[in-house]
C-alpha cells in the first residue's frame, strides 16, 4: 500500500502526469516502447541490481560481464538490435551496470576511422565477439590534451610493421574501460614516427590478450587500475607496450596511410573526427547526466514528503520536511534544472541532426559552432547536475548517506562526467574562444552563426521590471540573461585587446583572463538554456495543465539563476537593488507554488522502483520498512564477524594485555 503522505500528494496534481511523461519521451508510443523494454529487462533475474550495494569490486565486475554476455542472448531473443530504437531504453533499464561498453566504442572507432577493408575485416569479428575491444587514448600523464600523448608507434620498413612502445611511466595507457581484465584487442592512440619524423597521434589496432587462454600477449603489461569512487563494475585498465609489433595494416587508415615505402599520405578530411567527439559529448548528457539527476530528484522529493520532522504549528502533527522553505529551496531548483536540461538536450540533438545532414553534404561550416556548443553545454550541464545531485543527497540528511538510499552511487557516477570526454574547465575555455571570436566578427559586421547573433544586438538600457510579477515575464528575464552574457563576453574581449595592445603576449593575455572567460562561457550557456526553456514552454499544449506547470518551472529556473548570481546582474546596474528584492520575492513565491506539484513532477519521470534501486525513493513511500529490510540483507548481518572472536572477545575479557 502507498504511504498516505505520498498518496495525498498525488491527488492534487495540477496536470496530467501520464501526458507529461509522454511529452518527455517524445510521444506516447515511445513511452509504451520504453516501458516494454524496461519490463522485459527487469523481469529477468540476471539483470537484478538487488545486491549491488553489498558487492565487492570483484563481484560487481563479474556480474557486469555476466550481464553483458547474457544481454546478447536477450537481445537476440527479443529481436532488439544495437541500432534499433529500443537500444537506448535497454541502457536506461540497466542503469549502465553492464560491462563491455567500450567494445561498442572500439567498433565505432573502426567504423569511422577505418578503411572499407579494415571494416570488413574487424567489424564481423567484433560483432560476433570473437574478440573484445577497448579504446586506449588517455595515459597516466595526459588526458584532455591529446597532443601530449607519449606512446610511440615507429614504422619499420624492413618488416612492414609498427613497433609500439611505452617509453616512460607517464606514457602508460591508464583508465580505458574493459581493458583491465576483459579486452583482447584495443584501439591504441600513439605518436606515429616514420624514419625519425613524428607525424602526430594516430589510431592502431593492437591485440593485447590471447584469444585462446586470455593470457597477456608478449610485450604487453596490462591490468586493472584499482578501486575508484564508482564504476566498480568496470575494469578500467592500464596498458604498457614493450616493442609490440603489429602489421602495417593495423593502423586505422581512412584518413591517413603509411605506404609500404614509408610515405605518409593524408587523405580526405579529418574534420569528421571532431564531429564524432562532439556527438559523444552530446550523447552522454542524456544517459549519464540528466537521468541520474532526475533519479536523484525523485528520491529526494519523495523522501521529503514521507519524512516528517519537527512542528510547523504547535499542536499539529510534525510537518513533512518538504513544507519547510529551506528544503524547497534546496530541491525545487534542482527539479527545475532537470526539466531545463531535458529540453536543452532536445535542442542540442536537433542542432546536431541538422549539422550532421550538412556534414554529409561535405559542408563543414557548422563544425566550429557545434564544437563550441557541445563543449560548453557538456561542461555546464555536467557541473550543474553534479552539484544538484549532491544537494539532493545532503537534503536527505543521514539516510542519504546510506548506500541504500541510492544517492551516493548516483553522485559518484555523475561526478565522473565532469572529467571524462574533456575536462570541464578546458571545454568552457574552448567555448569562450569561439564566443570571443564571434563577438569580434559581429562587432566588425561580419556574419556569425545564428545561435550567437545576439552578441551583435546589444540593446542599451536597464531592466524595465516594475514589480515582482514582471519577473515572471520570460521576456524580462531572458533579456537580463542576454544582457549579462553579452556584457561578460564583450568586456573580456575588450580586456584581451587592451592587454595585447599594452604589449602582453597573446597567450599570456589569454591566461590572465581565463577565470572570467570561464564565467562568460557559462553565462552564454545559461542564457541559451533559459531562452530555450521559454521557447519550449510556448510550444507546449495548453491542455492538461502541462504548459502552466512548465512555465512555473521555467520561471523558477531563471529566477534561481539570477538569485544565486546576484552580483553579476547587479554589477552594471542592469538590475537595481530594489529589483533584486523583487526577484527574490518572486523566486520564493514560486517555491510554494511548485511545492504542490513536486511529487507529480517527479512521478512523470517514470522510473520503476527497481530502476531507482533506492530504499528512500520508492513509489509507495514505505521508506522506513524498506530501509530496515534492506539493512538486514547486508552481509555484515548474515555472518558472525571474525572480528569478535579475534579481537573483541580478548578485549572484552581483558586478555589483551597478554598479546
Amino acid at each position: 500500500s502507498v504511504n498516505p503522505d505520498l498518496a495525498s500528494e498525488r491527488l492534487t496534481a495540477s496536470f496530467n502526469v501520464e501526458k507529461l511523461t509522454a511529452q518527455l519521451d517524445g510521444g506516447a508510443e515511445h513511452t509504451r516502447m520504453r516501458r516494454a523494454v524496461v519490463e522485459a529487462i527487469e523481469c529477468d533475474p540476471v539483470f537484478s541490481r538487488e545486491n549491488e550495494y553489498f558487492q565487492s569490486q570483484n563481484e560487481r565486475y563479474e556480474a557486469a560481464v555476466r550481464k553483458a554476455v547474457y544481454l546478447q542472448k536477450k537481445m537476440y531473443k527479443m529481436g532488439w538490435t544495437e541500432n534499433g530504437p529500443e537500444y537506448k531504453y535497454i541502457y536506461r533499464a540497466l542503469s549502465g551496470d553492464v560491462a563491455l561498453l567500450l567494445h561498442r566504442i572500439f567498433m565505432r572507432s573502426i567504423s569511422v576511422l577505418g578503411s572499407d577493408k579494415q571494416i570488413a575485416k574487424w567489424i564481423p569479428l567484433a560483432t560476433q565477439y570473437q574478440l573484445i575491444g577497448s579504446y586506449a587514448q588517455t595515459e597516466l600523464g595526459h588526458g584532455t590534451y591529446l597532443q601530449g600523448l607519449e606512446t610511440t608507434a615507429v614504422f619499420d620498413i624492413t618488416t612492414q610493421e609498427f613497433i609500439l612502445n611505452t617509453p616512460k611511466i607517464s606514457a602508460m595507457k591508464w583508465w580505458p574501460g574493459d581493458m583491465g581484465r576483459s579486452a583482447t584487442h584495443s584501439v591504441v592512440f600513439a605518436q606515429l614516427y616514420i624514419q625519425g619524423k613524428c607525424y602526430g597521434v594516430h589510431p592502431f589496432i593492437v591485440q593485447i590478450r590471447s584469444l585462446q587462454d586470455h593470457s597477456l600477449c608478449p610485450g604487453i603489461i596490462a591490468g586493472d587500475i584499482g578501486p575508484k569512487m564508482n564504476f566498480e563494475h568496470v575494469d578500467n585498465g592500464y596498458l604498457m607496450l614493450q616493442n609490440v609489433r603489429i602489421p602495417r595494416e593495423n593502423m586505422l587508415n581512412k584518413f591517413c596511410e603509411v605506404q609500404p615505402d614509408g610515405t605518409y599520405i593524408r587523405q580526405g578530411s579529418q574534420k569528421i573526427n571532431y564531429f564524432t567527439m562532439t556527438t559523444v559529448r552530446i550523447s552522454l548528457i542524456s544517459d549519464e547526466v540528466i537521468i541520474p539527476l532526475m533519479k536523484a530528484c525523485t528520491i529526494a522529493i519523495r523522501y521529503s514528503v514521507v519524512r516528517r520532522q519537527s512542528k510547523l504549528k504547535p499542536g499539529e502533527q510534525e510537518a513533512k520536511i518538504l513544507d519547510y522553505q529551506t528544503q524547497q529551496e534546496k530541491l525545487l531548483p534542482q527539479l527545475a534544472a532537470a526539466y531545463a536540461f531535458h529540453f536543452i538536450n532536445d535542442y542540442l540533438q536537433e542542432l546536431f541532426d541538422r549539422g550532421y545532414r550538412e556534414i554529409q553534404r561535405k559542408n563543414f561550416d557548422t563544425l566550429p559552432e557545434l564544437h563550441a556548443f557541445s563543449s560548453g553545454f557538456k561542461a555546464m550541464v555536467t557541473q550543474y547536475s553534479t552539484s544538484a545531485v549532491e544537494t539532493c543527497l545532503r537534503a536527505c540528511g543521514g539516510h542519504g548517506y546510506s548506500l541504500l538510499s541510492g544517492l551516493p552511487s548516483l553522485y559518484t557516477k555523475i561526478l565522473a562526467s565532469c572529467i571524462y570526454e574533456g575536462e570541464n574547465t578546458i571545454l568552457l575555455l574552448q567555448t569562450a574562444r569561439f564566443l570571443i571570436k564571434c563577438f569580434m566578427a559581429a562587432s566588425a559586421g561580419q556574419p556569425v552563426p545564428p545561435s550567437v547573433t545576439y552578441l551583435a544586438a546589444v540593446k542599451p538600457g536597464n531592466c524595465p521590471a516594475k514589480n515582482k510579477l514582471d519577473f515572471l515575464s520570460p521576456d524580462i528575464y531572458t533579456e537580463a540573461y542576454q544582457h549579462i552574457a553579452v556584457r561578460l563576453i564583450s568586456s573580456r574581449a575588450a580586456e584581451l585587446q587592451d592587454l595585447i595592445q599594452s604589449g602582453v603576449k597573446k597567450h599570456d593575455a589569454w591566461n590572465q583572463c581565463t577565470v572570467q572567460l570561464v564565467q562568460a562561457a557559462k553565462a552564454h550557456c545559461h542564457y541559451i538554456t533559459v531562452k530555450n526553456f521559454t521557447e519550449t514552454v510556448e510550444k507546449l499544449e495548453t491542455k492538461a495543465g502541462i504548459q502552466k506547470i512548465m512555465k512555473h518551472l521555467c520561471d523558477l529556473f531563471a529566477l534561481h539563476g539570477i538569485f544565486s548570481n546576484a552580483g553579476v546582474f547587479l554589477h552594471d546596474g542592469y538590475i537595481s537593488g530594489a529589483q533584486m528584492d523583487m526577484v527574490t520575492a518572486s523566486y520564493l513565491d514560486l517555491l510554494a507554488i511548485i511545492r504542490k506539484d513536486a511529487v507529480p513532477l517527479v512521478d512523470a519521470f517514470d522510473f520503476t522502483d527497481k530502476n531507482l534501486n533506492s530504499a528512500l525513493g520508492s513509489y509507495d513511500g514505505q521508506v522506513y520498512q524498506r530501509l530496515y529490510e534492506w539493512a538486514q540483507k547486508s552481509p555484515t548481518n548474515k555472518q558472525m564477524s571474525p572480528a569478535y572472536e579475534k579481537y573483541l572477545k580478548p578485549l572484552l575479557h581483558n586478555t589483551l594485555s597478554k598479546l
Partner: protein, 666 residues
C-alpha cells in the same frame, strides 16, 4: 636521501618559498613545543609495526572493520602503556593510528565514557565506569532513530517505569523508532546509553538517558528482547559498524537511568533536573570540534591537490615551450588558492572556538551561564558554515586533480566520504543556521528596543545609529580599502548587519500578515539562513585578520596576510550581490576586487607548496599517491594499481565463466 629522489618540480618549489614552513606549522599547532610533541607521538605510531596494514582501499568492508577493531584495541592498550592522558595527545595518537578515520570505539571513548562521567551518579560510576574504562563494557550512545535526527523532541523510543518491579520497560513502538546510525552499535558494543521518552505515573517526562545492556557478556549474542545489527553499506565510514537497535519490552533496573540530574524515585515520583542548559555544553564542545575538523580535512585535500598540480604538466601556455605545471594556469590557481586560504582561516577559527569553549566552561562551572547562548549560536553557525564550505572545497580539490582525483589512490574520495556526514551529524546544517538566526534576530530585537548587545553581534548596535544618520550608508562606500584586511572586516560587518536587518524586517512583515509565528518563521527561513551565513563569514574574516597581528615573523606575516586578503576578497567577489545591493561597495570597487583576487593568485603561487607543507601531514596520514611529499606520483600509482583485488590473478575467473563460453557460442 629524500632529496635525491624528490621530484624536481617540488624541490624547486620548496627552494623558492619566501618563508620557513616550520614556523607556520608551529603557529598551527599552537607552539613549537606542541609541534615537537605531536611529531614525537606521530613517530611512536608510525614506527610501530603493530599499526601497519594493507592499503585500506583494497579491503572489503568487513576487513576494514576488522583492521579498525584490531588497531583500536591496541591503541587503548598502548595509550595506557605510554601514559598518554592529555586530551590533545590522545587525539593525536588516535588520529595517527586511524589516519584521521572513524573507528568502532569512537562512541565508546567519545560519548559513552564522558556521558557516564557527567550524568551518572557515584553509584552508577562505581558500577559502570571502571568496567567500561577497562573495556569489559563497550558502550555506544543511541540517540538518533530512523524517523528522527536533529529534532530530538520527536524521538519515539519509550522507557516506562514499572514500580512493581522497580524496572524500566524499554520499547521501540514503531518502525521509525528503531535506533539507527549509532556508531559501534551494529557489531561492537555490549551496552548502550539509550535516549528514550520517560513515562512514569502515566505521564511523559521527556527524553532521558538509560544504560541498556544489549549483548550477552561472554557470547556477545544479543539479549532476549533486543534486535541489533549493522545498518548496511554507506558512502564512507566503512570501518564503523553503525547499527540499529530495536527493543521489545526490554527491562532494566531503575538504577540504570542516568540520575545525576533528573531522577525517578522507587515509587515512580519524578524529580526534575535543576537546569536543562547544562546539556548545551557537550553539544557546543562537539560542534567546535567539527570546525577544527573542517579545517583539517580541507587542508589534507589542498595538500594533495596543490602538490599534484605542481607535478602534473599539461598542454601549453606558451607556444613551443615545454608543457607547464598545471598550477601555472590561472583557472587552476583560482580553484585551489581560495581553498588554501579557507583552510587557514578555519584553522584559526577552530582554535578560537576551542579556547573560547574552555574559557566559558570555566565560567559555567562557577555558575555563570551568561555567555553560553552566544557561544551556542556561534558554534552552531560556524559548524554549519565551515562544514558546508569544506565539503564543497574537498570536492573542488578532487575535481582539480582531473581523472586521477577520481581514483581511490588520490585519497580525496576517502577524505570526502569521511567528512561529508559532518554536514548532517551533531545537528543538520540548515537547522544549525536557523538556530544562529534565532539568536541574531533576538539580538536585533533587543537593539531595536533600545538595549545594547555585546560580543560578536555588537555590530547590530550600529544599526540604530544609522537610522539617525541616513547619510552614513552612502558615506561608508568610499571608506572600504580593498588592500586592508581591517577595512574588509568592516565591509563584512556591514553586510552581516544589512542581511540580519533585512531578514528581521521580512520576518516582521510576515508576522503582520499571518497568524502563526511558526509560519512566518518558515516563510523567512531562506533569508534567515543567508543572514546567519553572512554573520559567520564576518566572524571568520575578523578572526583571521586578528590573528595576523599576533605573528612576529615578518615573512610569515606577509604570506598569511596575502592569504587573509585572498580569503576576504574572494568571499566578496563570490557574494558581490550582497555588497552591491547594500551599497557597501561600488561596481568599480567590485571590479577592483576581482582584479586584486587575480593578482593575489600570482603572488601566492610561489609559496603554494610551502603553504601546504606547513600543514605537516605525514605521507602515511595523508594516504594519497597524488599528494606524496616526494612527488613521485606516476611510478607509485602503477605500484598501487598492481595490488588491486582485480589483479590478483592474471586471467580473471570471469573469463572462464562468461567470456569464453560466449565466444564459443556466437
Amino acid at each position: 636521501a629524500a632529496m635525491v629522489t624528490m621530484n624536481a618540480d617540488l624541490r624547486r618549489e620548496r627552494a623558492a618559498a619566501t618563508f620557513q614552513p616550520e614556523l607556520v606549522t608551529h603557529i598551527l599547532d599552537g607552539g613549537a613545543e606542541r609541534t615537537r610533541r605531536r611529531k614525537e607521538i606521530e613517530a611512536l605510531v608510525i614506527n610501530d609495526p603493530d599499526f601497519q596494514h594493507e592499503d585500506l582501499n583494497f579491503l572489503s568492508r568487513s576487513q576494514r572493520y576488522e583492521q579498525a577493531i584490531r588497531k583500536s584495541s591496541l591503541m587503548v592498550m598502548k595509550l595506557r602503556e605510554y601514559g598518554i592522558a592529555d586530551p590533545d595527545e590522545i587525539y593525536w595518537f588516535k588520529s595517527f593510528v586511524h589516519r584521521g578515520r572513524p573507528e568502532p570505539l569512537d562512541l565508546h571513548l567519545g560519548m559513552f565514557l564522558p556521558t557516564l562521567l557527567t550524568q551518572a551518579t557515584p553509584e552508577q560510576q562505581d558500577r559502570f565506569f571502571m568496567p567500561a574504562w577497562n573495556l569489559e563494557i563497550i558502550g555506544t550512545y543511541a540517540q538518533t532513530e530512523m524517523g528522527h535526527g536533529t529534532h530530538l523532541r520527536g524521538l519515539e523510543t519509550t522507557a516506562t517505569y514499572d514500580p512493581a518491579t522497580q524496572e524500566f520497560i524499554l520499547n521501540s513502538p514503531t518502525v521509525t523508532s528503531i535506533k539507527w546510525w549509532p556508531g559501534g552499535l551494529g557489531k561492537t558494543s555490549n551496552h548502550a546509553i539509550v535516549l528514550a521518552q520517560l513515562y512514569t505515573q502515566g505521564q511523559c517526562k521527556g527524553l532521558h538517558a538509560f544504560i541498556v545492556p544489549i549483548r550477552q557478556l561472554g557470547t556477545h549474542e544479543p539479549l532476549p528482547g533486543i534486535t541489533v545489527g549493522d545498518i548496511g553499506p554507506k558512502f564512507g565510514y566503512d570501518e564503523m559498524d553503525n547499527g540499529y537497535l530495536k527493543m521489545d519490552n526490554f527491562r532494566i533496573p531503575r538504577e540504570n537511568m542516568l540520575m545525576k540530574y533528573a531522577q525517578v524515585e522507587p515509587d515512580g515520583t519524578y524529580v526534575k533536573p535543576l537546569s536543562d542548559k547544562l546539556t548545551y555544553g557537550t553539544m557546543v564542545f562537539i560542534r567546535s570540534l567539527i570546525v577544527g575538523d573542517s579545517a583539517r580535512s580541507l587542508s589534507r585535500a589542498c595538500t594533495i591537490a596543490i602538490r599534484y598540480s605542481a607535478v602534473r604538466h599539461q598542454s601549453e601556455l606558451k607556444p613551443g615551450e615545454p608543457e607547464p605545471q598545471i598550477l601555472d594556469y590561472q583557472t587552476q590557481q583560482y580553484k585551489l588558492f581560495p581553498l588554501l586560504a579557507t583552510a587557514y582561516a578555519f584553522h584559526f577559527v577552530g582554535a578560537y572556538i576551542k579556547d573560547t569553549y574552555h574559557r566559558i566552561s570555566g565560567d559555567i562551572n562557577e555558575g555563570d551561564l551568561s555567555e553560553l547562548p552566544e557561544l551556542h549560536a556561534l558554534t552552531a553557525g560556524l559548524k554549519a558554515f565551515t562544514s558546508w564550505t569544506a565539503n564543497a572545497g574537498i570536492e573542488e580539490c578532487r575535481m582539480a586533480c582531473g581523472g586521477h582525483g577520481y581514483s581511490r589512490c588520490s585519497g580525496i574520495p576517502d577524505i570526502y566520504v569521511t567528512f561529508t556526514p559532518s554536514c548532517t551529524y551533531e545537528g543538520e546544517n540548515t537547522v544549525m543556521m536557523l538556530q544562529t538566526a534565532r539568536f541574531l534576530v533576538k539580538s536585533y530585537t533587543q537593539v531595536n528596543s533600545g538595549q545594547r548587545v555585546t560580543g560578536m553581534v555588537s555590530y547590530l548596535n550600529d544599526l540604530s545609529r544609522q537610522r539617525i544618520q541616513p547619510q552614513h550608508v552612502a558615506a561608508r562606500t568610499v571608506t572600504v580599502r580593498i588592500n586592508d584586511p581591517v577595512s574588509l572586516v568592516e565591509a563584512y560587518k556591514a553586510r552581516a548587519a544589512r542581511l540580519v536587518e533585512a531578514a528581521a524586517k521580512n520576518l516582521q512583515a510576515e508576522l503582520n500578515h499571518r497568524k502563526s509565528k511558526e509560519d512566518a518563521w518558515n516563510r523567512t527561513s531562506v533569508d534567515l539562513v543567508r543572514a546567519s551565513e553572512a554573520h559567520c563569514h564576518y566572524v571568520i574574516v575578523k578572526l583571521f585578520t586578528a590573528k595576523l597581528s599576533e605573528i612576529s615573523n615578518a615573512a610569515v606575516r606577509a604570506v598569511l596576510t596575502d592569504l587573509c586578503l585572498l580569503y576576504a576578497l574572494y568571499g566578496i567577489s563570490k557574494n558581490a550581490g550582497d555588497f552591491l545591493q547594500a551599497s557597501i561597495l561600488t561596481d568599480t570597487q567590485i571590479t577592483q576586487v576581482n582584479q586584486h583576487v587575480k593578482e593575489l593568485l600570482a603572488i601566492i603561487r610561489p609559496n603554494a607548496i610551502a603553504l601546504v607543507d606547513s600543514f605537516d601531514f605525514h605521507d602515511v596520514h595523508l594516504g594519497s599517491v597524488l599528494g606524496r611529499y616526494d612527488g613521485n606520483i606516476y611510478e607509485n600509482m602503477f605500484e598501487w594499481a598492481k595490488k588491486s583485488p582485480l589483479n590478483k590473478t592474471e586471467v580473471h575467473e570471469s573469463f572462464h565463466k562468461h567470456l569464453k563460453p560466449m565466444q564459443a557460442k556466437l
